[in-house]
Subunit: 334 residues, 2 copies
Amino acid sequence: MPFQSLADIRTLLTRLPAPDAKAIAAAEARNGQLTKPPGALGRLETVAIWLAGWQGTEKPRADRPQIAIFAGNHGVTAKGVSAFPAEVTVQMVANFAHGGAAINQLARAFGAKLDVHSLDLDRPTADFTEGPAMTEAEVVAAMRTGYEAVDPSADLFVAGEMGIGNTTAAAAIATALYGGFGWAGRGTGVDDAGLRRKEAAVAAGVERHQALLSDPLEVLRCLGGREIAAMAGAILGARMARVPVILDGFIACSAAAVLEQTAPGALDHCVAGHQSAEGAHARLLEKLGKEPLLALDLRLGEGSGAALAIGVVQGAVACHSGMATFAEAGVAAG
Amino acid sequence: MPFQSLADIRTLLTRLPAPDAKAIAAAEARNGQLTKPPGALGRLETVAIWLAGWQGTEKPRADRPQIAIFAGNHGVTAKGVSAFPAEVTVQMVANFAHGGAAINQLARAFGAKLDVHSLDLDRPTADFTEGPAMTEAEVVAAMRTGYEAVDPSADLFVAGEMGIGNTTAAAAIATALYGGFGWAGRGTGVDDAGLRRKEAAVAAGVERHQALLSDPLEVLRCLGGREIAAMAGAILGARMARVPVILDGFIACSAAAVLEQTAPGALDHCVAGHQSAEGAHARLLEKLGKEPLLALDLRLGEGSGAALAIGVVQGAVACHSGMATFAEAGVAAG
């Protein structure tokens, strides 16, 4: 068992593996010899070299991507924070199982393995405006589900989520971690009154748990949800297995932010897949120091934006690992 | 033979087919019933509906993409406008043939057919600072090569290019079509002195041919190159066959701009694949009214940015054509 308490997780976060410096140097050298002007493939070059470091090889791959979706239910939905009823979480999990959701199509399009983990959907987290969302045992169990969901043989990992009400939880986490206002947004499409209810719930939750919120893992426990905790656990699990991660949208990034605030550098194995249309996502990416690969106004969750970015990473890898060098091709190097 | 003169091409440009309005309506209706909040897939939704219109079907596809690369040589390279010698054009064509270039890897990654057309590489266009780059017969022949290169059974088309010196030709075209300064950029990586030589060549070319430049097709003839003319012909050919096009970078867009300036709306079947790092590309996309799908600092040409965007379009199509509706999945529609 990788950890049994938040204290164990704190310890784990002090022992994170680094990328392979030799592989990075070899990939950089290779990149300089490929038949193109220096830098002409832009971010595809930096992505390929980053991937090389985490995969520990000069020629990285991206033909075994894994997408894991985590689903959870939220007590705070009682406060009228979502445009959809809480039953939709379990209905969408059934849709994932039958292959009908957006993420199923994207997984197929980019050759990714897709796993779905339902986390006690019949037992929503507590309404965080009234008490901590989870006990320590609950948050640790959820993080372990995520941690153990990572296939160490995957060459790329995406954590996605489904959970009616979870943009409210993510906004509360961001507010607690970074302060300020305006972290709540429209989510799946809540109206003005709903948005005001979200803002009120976030403010109430942060105020109620204020005494504990200097610890990011307590932020996750008090304000998060099981699927958010599972994503944090999965991102940590991927790091321990040196599997590079593509971060999805606002909710996935709120989970990631908990790790980064606990141990700066904890997201070095992560690239931002996209910038979503959820208002505060751009701001959250800035806090994480991550530049998104895509910005196509998606705001679906399910890991969909990150899944779409798998295609970009596959393009980067194809060029880096497949192109001829100037010497091989007999092309003048300029 | 589709056309024999620039006059024939002008006539063709008055007879462009429109998208299928019924297919657009059907695709919009379908999009509204898919298991996601309205608009949550952002630009993937508009891309899928746009594709539906041109393919004439409620459920578009993107599994038969075609990439055609056109290569040409430029007399203006005598003015020292490129960081690479002109011989690199033919060397890179050999690299395409052997599968070693970036575009070969991207074509394979996204399942695209790749064709390479060399246009009289041993006979560069005339130096446009000293005379028209091409005769009418030459520009028409090059456009015809492009026009006939389009496979009407393709479900997506990308025109790419290779031609040392062609960012100078493209900058001259943009200057002639839109006026102003600053259309010349670093291309493959020219130094400050080289950039000044480019700017001088562009200014000299535009001044020399000023009397003819109110006609966009004359702009193409006097300042363009064979591969640029071929791309214009290919984009026109795709329109006549109702094959949707992903536009590549600055040079491809300069070719497209000739069509749009001749017949506004001529690029309605085109989406901008990416915004390149070539300085003036963003400005050219604005002139064309096109929002890029990607902006990853590529500046390679070869159709590489557009090829990468095939992945995004495939993701859009996968979602639109593969997802379950609320009714099929038994999900509450919010």
